[in-house]
Amino acid sequence: MIEFHGVTKAYENSTALRNLSFLIEKGEMVFITGPSGAGKSTMLKLMYMAERPDEGRIVINGTEIETLGDSDIPYLRRNIGVVFQDFRLLPRKTAFDNVALALRIRGMGESDIKPLVNETLKMVNLRHKTDSLPAALSGGEQQRVVIARAIVSEPAIVLADEPTGNLDPDTSSGIMRILKEINARGTTIVIATHNRELLKDTGRRILRLDGGNLLERGD
């Protein structure tokens, strides 16, 4: 589902990822961990094509991303739901509209959107905040809107960057339960996290990064 072959990514003054190779199978649930600045977010950004690799090949969902033109990218991205580390909520849209956006972008009709969005907001315990703007939500509430937006369209892949950084342990395990459920239904899930509690007893593969190097393939 996700293949990295000798991928290197450098920013102007530092190399974020060095010669990374790994493979994530369809339906897998994989954790990425490592200290702050290790390159976790960069790795996810390469997967959703916010960054392009300097060297190496990346294959997502069977598509060699190097071969993609600008106009193909939106269609590949629709197979991917992303929980951004910095949220990226649209500040002028309500929680409902922020989540609905993921469906509207995909061309779904309004009559189908409403029940789907409401159901997803209920899953993350935010049914009562449907009409709030992001600025009127607490940090953890915002994070849950982002999670709802990532999963509402039932994408083939969910990429979650530090999805529980602003959540208390109980809410965190609620979210993890949802992700596991989705994963059980066949969705490939990649989670970048520092949270030791999330990593404990998962029985899943853990990729450990440090200074842009893959320490442990976990497989």
């Binding site: 990218i73 951004f84 500040p91 002028r92 972008i105 061309g107």
Partner: protein, 298 residues
């Protein structure tokens, strides 16, 4: 989720644009008013130019050519000469002034001293025809050619016209047209630029949102449509504001100012053009938005 079509529902695009307009109503109002100001300036400039045009268009009407007739022509020959003049397509009017009428005019001119003319045993003044010509023909080369044509008519002694007056009419006309064209060009460029930059700034402010939309998998069309619509609506609003501004100005000028500045009473309002202001606003808004979002990259 697969198989869902990529078509974007038009009502939703419209809703998006309306929401966005409403949520930043003050800043959008500001943009619309900026466009309105530009259009208003344009409309005022056009009206002033239109009035200058009308004024200079009237000038040639005052231009007359005096045709002196030969001495001792019979009434018939005079009639022939006058109808010969009238036959020329450039002639708009021809007024015969007999020797007696000319003398009467001279006497009126000399006022109290007219008794001197009584002493003349013969009227020395020639009969003449005052010829008004079509305004298209009022230009130096055309008038010179025309005089030559008239001279060829039988019974005509000489043709006289004010060369100096003619060339100054010429100068005023072409001057007004030249300055007019210049002002219109500069104003058009100015207003288009203001619209462009207004929409550009509008768009620029949403850079982050656009990036997010891209990352969520939105197509260019999906992202651009609400912006174009928004730009168009702001432009339209600006145009409507300019229209009511012009109406207000017209009221102000014709009711309040005209009594103070008499010449404004004859100010002509090109109302037919004013109704195109909203269309112009819509157009510049759309154009500005299209140029502003032109270089959107993924």
């Amino acid at each position: 989720m697969k198989g869902v079509t990529d078509r974007m529902s038009a009502p939703y695009t419209f809703k998006l644009a309306m929401d966005s307009l409403w949520k930043e109503k003050w800043i959008n109002l500001l943009s619309a008013l900026t466009i309105a100001t530009g259009l208003l300036l344009m409309a005022v400039a056009l009206s002033v130019l239109y009035n200058i045009q009308i004024a200079t268009r009237k000038l040639p009407e005052r231009f007359v050519i005096t045709v002196f007739l030969k001495e001792g022509l019979t009434e018939e020959k005079i009639r022939d000469a006058v109808s010969g003049i009238k036959a020329n397509p450039k002639v708009k009017s021809a007024k015969y002034i007999s020797k007696d009428a000319a003398m009467k005019e001279l006497k009126a001119l000399m006022k109290d001293s007219d008794y001197i003319l009584e002493g003349l045993d013969e009227n020395p003044l020639p009969a003449s025809v005052e010829v008004g010509i079509n305004k298209e023909a009022v230009s130096e080369p055309s008038v010179r050619a025309f005089s030559d044509e008239l001279r060829a008519i039988e019974g005509i002694e000489d043709v006289s016209y004010g060369e100096k007056l003619l060339s100054s009419i010429q100068a005023i006309k072409s001057g007004a047209e030249g300055i007019g064209a210049l002002v219109i060009i500069i104003l058009s460029a100015g207003i288009t630029f203001v619209c462009y930059s207004t929409v550009k700034i509008l768009f620029y402010r949403k850079k982050d949102e656009i990036e997010t939309l891209q990352l969520l998998g939105a197509t260019k069309g999906f992202i651009r449509a609400p912006f174009v619509l928004e730009g168009g609506l702001i432009g339209l609003a600006g145009g409507l504001a300019a229209l009511s501004g012009i109406a207000g100005l017209k009221y102000l000028i014709s009711i309040k100012l005209a009594s103070l500045v008499p010449v404004l009473q004859s100010f002509a309002y090109p109302s037919a053009v004013a109704v195109y202001l909203p269309v112009a606003g819509l157009f510049v808004g759309l154009l500005g938005a299209l140029i502003a979002i032109g270089r959107l990259r993924f």
